[in-house]
């Protein structure tokens, strides 16, 4: 059995695929940004003495991390409207889901990051008279971000791969377009090879780019 490759169909629709890729990347970046805010807030909540608050955050993290993303996507997109929680469109629904999903993982990241800022820098900040919020803003947070930068890169790559699930609610990202090409042209191998290579290359490029940023900001030797 032989298979004759014919990539011309792919080239004709390559721009659609690239747009799909860009869309996935955009969804991932937005979700990472919102997830970072959630992660920071929850990370700080973990540091308070409020047991109830800590319990709530713990529940959120454990619950989300143990749920399949696809189920969460369906639950938010099909389930929540049934009880009156509606979204503007499927994009909003998806971004909210992915952000909440990312937030759970990033809560862990920031919780660990915040605790790994050495206490002596906090004391040095206090000693020059910075107020507690200033100490956090100018010393603890910048150091935390530098510490968690590698984790953030990994999370961005994971989230980007996770955007492939948006195909399940017909968001035209890369996997969706590959499926369409597959269905319309039967160029099965070409469609999936191209999609795979595009994902692979993008993940690789993100990793390289972020490694550069890490190098530039890793001032704690």
């Amino acid at each position: 059995m032989t298979y004759n490759f014919n990539f011309s169909v792919i080239w004709r629709q390559f721009d659609v695929m690239l747009w799909g890729l860009g869309l996935g990347l955009l969804l991932a970046v937005i979700s990472l940004a919102i997830g970072t805010v959630i992660g920071l807030v929850c990370g700080y909540a973990f540091r308070t003495n409020n047991k109830t608050l800590r319990g709530l955050v713990w529940g959120y993290v454990e619950f989300i991390r143990n749920e399949p993303l696809l189920l969460l996507i369906f639950f938010v997109y099909f389930g929540l409207p049934a009880i009156g929680i509606r979204f503007f469109d499927k994009y909003e629904s998806f971004v909210i889901t992915l952000s909440i999903y990312a937030g759970a993982y990033l809560t862990e990241v920031f919780r660990a990051g915040l605790t790994s800022v050495p206490e002596r820098y906090v004391e040095a900040a206090k000693a020059i008279g910075l107020k507690p919020w200033q100490t956090q803003l100018y010393v603890v947070l910048p150091l935390t971000f530098r510490i968690v930068l590698p984790s953030l890169s990994n999370n961005l790559i994971s989230l980007f791969k996770d955007t492939s699930l948006a195909t399940a609610i017909a968001i035209p990202e890369l996997t969706f377009t590959a499926r369409q090409i597959n269905a319309n042209t039967y160029r099965v191998m070409e469609a999936w090879l191209t999609a795979s290579l595009l994902y692979l290359a993008t993940c690789y490029l993100i990793a390289i780019a972020l490694r550069q940023i890490e190098k530039r900001y890793s001032v704690i030797k």
Partner: protein, 220 residues
């Protein structure tokens, strides 16, 4: 007649049970294959001859750089094209197992690499063979660094089985969706599925935490 959750649950019980069995079965197969292949892959990544090492590295990095869903769809449509008469179930298991093996290989590699060379040298010095060194010296020490990420991967694989619903494998998620299509009790049955996945994965994670504590005494 008023629909009740329990009434509908009873009606759907055989379909949901079928989904439950499928999800558990696929998870178990994939994780076991992943562990065995991962152990071999990890060893090849560290001790294999250079060409094998490079090939393994390529395999591991490629599979980890592609979304699981793409692997599943690729496997599903691609294998069918090869003329292999293959079910969605098998295609899905192949993709998930391949993905799981890649992650497990990297986990084993990291764990083996983290053991100080002095340990291997000491084991050689008392005359242990390669197998003996691996079983009695390396593996026990690596366990502490294998178990937590391996459990993480296992949880990810259980979560990943839901993607097979997209190619029509009747797992818990698809069974749930079919149930919902019949009775429109969207929230109730999605919540039921969530509870199922939570209990399963939470138990897995706790096991990980338990083993982490058990092996926590090994430090270097």
């Amino acid at each position: 007649m008023q629909r009740t959750y329990l009434g509908e649950l009873m009606k759907a019980k055989w379909s949901l049970l079928q989904g439950f069995i499928t999800t558990m079965e696929i998870s178990a197969i994939v994780i076991v294959i992943g562990l065995i292949a991962g152990m071999i892959g990890g060893l090849l990544l560290v001790y294999g001859p250079k060409p094998v090492r490079l090939l393994m590295r390529l395999y591991v990095d490629v599979l980890r750089g592609i979304p699981v869903l793409v692997l599943i769809l690729f496997s599903y449509y691609g294998l069918a094209l090869l003329g292999v008469n293959i079910s969605a179930y098998t295609a899905g298991v192949v993709a998930l197992a391949g993905f799981c093996s890649a992650h497990m290989s990297e986990t084993f590699r990291g764990a083996i690499d983290s053991i100080p060379v002095g340990q291997t040298e000491a084991a050689k010095a008392i005359g242990l063979t390669f197998q003996q060194r691996f079983i009695y010296v390396l593996l026990p020490q690596a366990a502490r660094r294998i178990v937590p990420p391996a459990i993480n991967t296992a949880v990810e694989m259980v979560k990943g089985t839901t993607l097979l619903s997209i190619i029509g494998v009747l797992d818990v998620l698809l069974a749930t969706q079919q149930t919902i299509a019949r009775n429109y009790m969207v929230i109730e049955f999605y919540a039921t599925a969530m509870l199922f996945y939570f209990v399963l994965n939470f138990t897995l994670s706790r096991m990980g935490a338990y083993f982490e504590r058990r092996f926590g005494f090994i430090r270097y």
